[in-house]
Symmetry: C2
């Protein structure tokens, strides 16, 4: 996934000569805490936040250029960068938005942290049963019921709690990957559980074939 | 993971009678776009953003209570809620921060989207080799070299490209879970690849045991 796939293309912008009051109204009406400052060719020359605007209004500055951060102080990404560059940048620099440039350094979008959260959380919200369905498709000769049976046995072994294959099926149909990794204590542990189930189901398949 | 584990406890706050200019200075000096409005008992009564402040300054309002959003209009979470409630709320309501309440409705923290991004991305930044190390620990009797060998065979089968066990080992040491799921085309596909490797390595182990 690339930066351009998760960026907001409907961003607002201001120019350096714009009156601060006008910039303030534009940002309020679009509910944007930040906006890029662009020249006539839509190239990035600066960046302002609504906190620069409150200071500008209090201290009676006149123009956007009087309060803006210069281009060199701004974290930015390129539209063809992997999306994870934007994720790392937002996390490291603690910013709520990041301008996106094309190959000519024109601003073509803005990445916002809640869009990143949306993208990342869509991974978390995958149903755990999807992963088991993928397992059944991959493990030729293993049925869904056999997989649920093996899962119930592994769960009993690892948690000490008796659970039926039907209970297990219900549980994975109602839970998401996000819940599962938080419940099992992390990605590696979640995966180790899946491997244990895979191992058991394959061992049973081999045993059945030998008979 | 609970909300209280990812919330910012060092948040700032204002009260309804505070002068807007004073609130503005406090928000700027702490670089906060939003702040809860609290009563004398630290209970949530409202919420202001820096965009409310720019409007307040422009329109010559005097006090925080003149510009604040009322408690009923604010998305909030409880400290003992699962952290994913905050993730879903940020993503659905497109907010940059969410107040966190305790059982007495006192504000005890603020969730910020970049903290959510940090938490979510820490999952993505797990090295793929960690998952393979967990596999070796789980699959008793399978060595690391046998696992790399099986991985190289599955990669050749699925991509058509020849890769040695050493190449594969190098690749997983340098790549993260985030890169891997984007490279393979999603979480299910990534797991299916791992399961194919697990299946092969177990089949080889069983064959070896029979000899």
């Amino acid at each position: 996934m690339k930066v351009k796939e998760i960026m907001d293309k409907e961003f607002i912008a201001v120019n350096p000569e714009m009156d601060i009051v006008e910039a303030s109204i534009r940002m309020e009406s679009h509910k944007k805490f930040t906006t890029p400052v662009l020249d006539d060719k839509r190239r990035l020359v600066g960046w302002i936040t609504s906190l620069d605007v409150t200071r500008g209004l209090r201290e009676n500055h006149k123009h956007v250029k009087d309060i803006m951060h210069s281009k060199d102080d701004i974290v930015h990404v390129h539209e063809d960068n992997p999306a994870r560059y934007a994720v790392l940048a937002a996390s490291q620099h603690k910013v709520v938005s990041i301008p996106v440039l094309d190959s000519e350094n024109k601003v073509v979008g803005v990445i916002r942290t809640f869009d990143i959260v949306k993208t990342l959380s869509s991974l978390y919200e995958i149903k755990v049963s999807n992963i088991f369905e993928a397992m059944v498709r991959e493990l030729k000769g293993v049925t869904w019921d056999e997989l649920m049976e093996a899962s119930a046995i592994v769960t009993k072994r690892e948690t000490g709690k008796r659970v039926t294959a039907k209970d297990y099926e219900q549980r994975i149909k109602n839970s998401t990957f996000g819940e599962a990794i938080w419940a099992t204590g992390g990605l590696e542990k979640f995966f180790v559980g899946l491997i244990a189930i895979g191992e058991l189901v394959i061992a049973r398949k081999v045993a059945k074939a030998r008979k």
